[in-house]
Symmetry: D2
Subunit: 307 residues, 4 copies
Amino acid sequence: MPTTHHFTPTHYHNTLGSHEPALRIAPGDTVVTTTVDSRGQDAAGQKLTPGPNPQTGPFYIEGAEPGDRLVVHLDRLTPNRSTGWGGRMLAQNVVEPAYVPQLPLDLEKNRATWKVDVQAGLASLAEPEGRLGHFPLPIRPMLGCFGVAPAGGEAISAMTSGPHGGNMDYNGFIAGVTVYFPVFVPGALFSLGDGHALQGDGEMVGTGIEISFEVQFTVNLVKGKHDRWPRAENADCILTVGNARPLDQAVQHATTEMLRWLQTDYGLTAREANLLMGYCVQYELGNMYDPAYTMICKLPKRALASL
Amino acid sequence: MPTTHHFTPTHYHNTLGSHEPALRIAPGDTVVTTTVDSRGQDAAGQKLTPGPNPQTGPFYIEGAEPGDRLVVHLDRLTPNRSTGWGGRMLAQNVVEPAYVPQLPLDLEKNRATWKVDVQAGLASLAEPEGRLGHFPLPIRPMLGCFGVAPAGGEAISAMTSGPHGGNMDYNGFIAGVTVYFPVFVPGALFSLGDGHALQGDGEMVGTGIEISFEVQFTVNLVKGKHDRWPRAENADCILTVGNARPLDQAVQHATTEMLRWLQTDYGLTAREANLLMGYCVQYELGNMYDPAYTMICKLPKRALASL
Amino acid sequence: MPTTHHFTPTHYHNTLGSHEPALRIAPGDTVVTTTVDSRGQDAAGQKLTPGPNPQTGPFYIEGAEPGDRLVVHLDRLTPNRSTGWGGRMLAQNVVEPAYVPQLPLDLEKNRATWKVDVQAGLASLAEPEGRLGHFPLPIRPMLGCFGVAPAGGEAISAMTSGPHGGNMDYNGFIAGVTVYFPVFVPGALFSLGDGHALQGDGEMVGTGIEISFEVQFTVNLVKGKHDRWPRAENADCILTVGNARPLDQAVQHATTEMLRWLQTDYGLTAREANLLMGYCVQYELGNMYDPAYTMICKLPKRALASL
Amino acid sequence: MPTTHHFTPTHYHNTLGSHEPALRIAPGDTVVTTTVDSRGQDAAGQKLTPGPNPQTGPFYIEGAEPGDRLVVHLDRLTPNRSTGWGGRMLAQNVVEPAYVPQLPLDLEKNRATWKVDVQAGLASLAEPEGRLGHFPLPIRPMLGCFGVAPAGGEAISAMTSGPHGGNMDYNGFIAGVTVYFPVFVPGALFSLGDGHALQGDGEMVGTGIEISFEVQFTVNLVKGKHDRWPRAENADCILTVGNARPLDQAVQHATTEMLRWLQTDYGLTAREANLLMGYCVQYELGNMYDPAYTMICKLPKRALASL
């Protein structure tokens, strides 16, 4: 019978790798836990651990074997403090090279403080900024970095991403989404961190509104699926994730993974899958800041409705 | 006083360049005209002219000088026949290189025929395709290729794009949008073509539903703006267009142009523009098929409302 | 019987396109002519015409038809004045984006003057530069921009390059090299300009030592070859040229063109061509400054000797 | 007093990471050891360990601390068996996407066997291949994968590369070269493997001639240098290594690291370093096959002679 685990992390990892499990859970189980922000600060604003993107976990999922598909439903993502912070300057790699000296370079390490009102669903600048004033924005809490242990004995920095997930910084990873990860090691070793109260497409300032979270998620397992890249779905669409540089390669991974998905899980022929995608596919920019960029390939569920 | 010109094209160009004007019009004027499809077929399905993307025009806008901003409002874009056509196979450059042999390569030159019902707002396959059946999809007519004559005496193929616009293949260029082009030559020499009844993000099969159009547009002029890249706006957002390879560079152009726009036209400081974009920016993939790819950088107007 | 034409240009073009021929020549003919530097300055240092890269020509080669191969032997490339000039700052796009502000940005438009002694084969700074002093370097005169008219009615800026050649800025295009261009229009319409007394790999400061040239070249024609990209050979190797962004794509074009060459002209099977290239291929960076970058794929002739 | 260690590996690692040291050595010490080939086969052709690129080591260098520069002189690299193997088909990512189906795809996993005669300095195909016959080629033994433990607790696959070195697959890493690595962890944790009897530029078939080696190397230490990327020198040149995708980014890293080197170690001003590089720099393609590509930035020592 599914169990709900209330898990309080005692230490954190800055890589996704084959670390000692923090907790063993079974398919169907739910975990309620917390994440610190990308610099290791908790709900009280205390720095518990160094950055980048300290990971809560890893969670060992009983029965998970390489070649399986780990299912992670993001039940709830709630900022658990009232102050977040974030960048003020667009990253140098996202503007024309000759424009870099016109960026406000004095702000490169300068961080904006944001007041986050979870009840009202709003974030506002702690200090007003010129004509923007306090610049209130609706929050949309999302997980920046989460995934499983990579293959081949690697331990990969929580600053970057790959087939195992990691620091995808896609602002569509909000509560209610179900995410699928390929399993590369026994137990999958799922971990999570780097909550953002909101984030612009592409994480162009190198951050969202960085904040600690209370998180609830539920895991499941599908045996023998051999996915290559993370996948997800929400009420409206299914999506695949490509993590690579340049963006072109990220698109190639996400697009190819969607072709595979349509053929292996939806039973389409190559001919049908190509035609369907050609006229209905959508893309989103996850991030263009991390060492690996992230592109999302989406299909609206209504395009799949007739299948 | 503004004039409405009913213009029937007698010949077409396969490049955007400093061609003899087909019609001289004044700022404020409206043009009602037609475009052939990307292979040169008209409303009757007759091939009038060779492809690629034959352009109607160019239109000489009186008073337009290099450094000005040409304003083109897309008043109406209506498919004027009931049959379109389009690709069936995702392009080889959008999938993982090792996956290319698994594409349905026999379909590379094979074109689907689509029935387009403008009244009903639907396109459906003329021949059912396996489990997709007739695969009815809502149409969303858009212009694939339009722009002005480039600088420096260039004549650039209507297959590709650049600072002058051209074959951007962005499915957001629908009726109701106002597009801004930098003017590079006297009279701007605006031309247009390559209508799509609908198109997936990225034009991944190398086409939308290719069809001839009846088009109505209205031009205007803003003197001395010296934009670098196409810009546009609709009811919800302002957007900039970057046309380049790889996608990374397209993003750099679009992002930088948005930074410029916020500073020169909205009067933001660099500090304000960077902060605003960092948390509110959105991106869309125009195309990843043409020789130059297209990325769109958007800002929701609600984020600008307080300014 | 082959003719030697002594041709004095009277005007120049800043694009490679289907311009009125400046001279009609026959296969086997030799042309002795001059080129101005990339800013349009001649042997006397007089600015005759605006930049960029003014082209001498175009030369119409009798009998050249689309699908033929134009053969251009660079007989002689001689700087015809004693002063050249060039950049001082590495381009912003060739360094890490975050490093751009550490470039000596005040030098971006500042040009070094070089004394060029053709007899001695040396170039030296006119004004000593700190610890580099006059920095004498051996000259190696090369053509930066030359090629044929592109297909499809395009007129392409002499700042960039493509299948038609153009501004390849490859420092291996020196006297003694035979260059092959695909013919896209009747007469081929060959033109040339942008001489460099020497140039570093990649043209990382945006220039070589820019100087006017006396040039002698001899043309020939091979019918019906349907090459896709420029090719060349010298005493030691055969080479192919890919012009595109990013460098990855330039490599793809050059590599694929070499595979084609080995199969169509050297009669290798695909299996043999792949194996040969796998262990013997060499690459050089033409330029990483122009709108299209250039990569060179080379095979040493000794690896082909046994064939 | 420097010691020569004769080290026989008893196990191997497929990642570069903070593994238990296999041997502790002091600056000045020399190590004579062996490497297995990229699939784990030793001098007798026995498979001792799984691939990819099993690493001998790591060697803990006494006194090495983060921020130091590890100096590794490659004294001797000798194939220690008479048979190597390697790929037959160019990788799909190095040709034009539309050309992929024309590659000899049946050969993708097929490996050529090469007879390697170290005395004669020649490699030849074990089985003749059509018109290539036994295709004898001069060997040029090089190390494909070597480096130090990365920063941040990462363990990075020996299939790829980064600031720590790793699988750079640059055919200039031959005996006689001195390589410099940034130290990221105490003891540096140097390891090595993946010997090639010879390799084409770019490792376009995904391998060189893969073979086991006897290796001799000597280490040293320079304190407090804080290099960012691997560097090296030989009799003729100094060079820097950029490992990233796409090639453009690899060039950016290598070029920027050379700018840093000229300023911090050779005492040039930014102005001098930019000018020197602009006219003298050379580039080589390390590999375009591994997950991270490798570009080499070189300066001939004669260009530095006057300093």
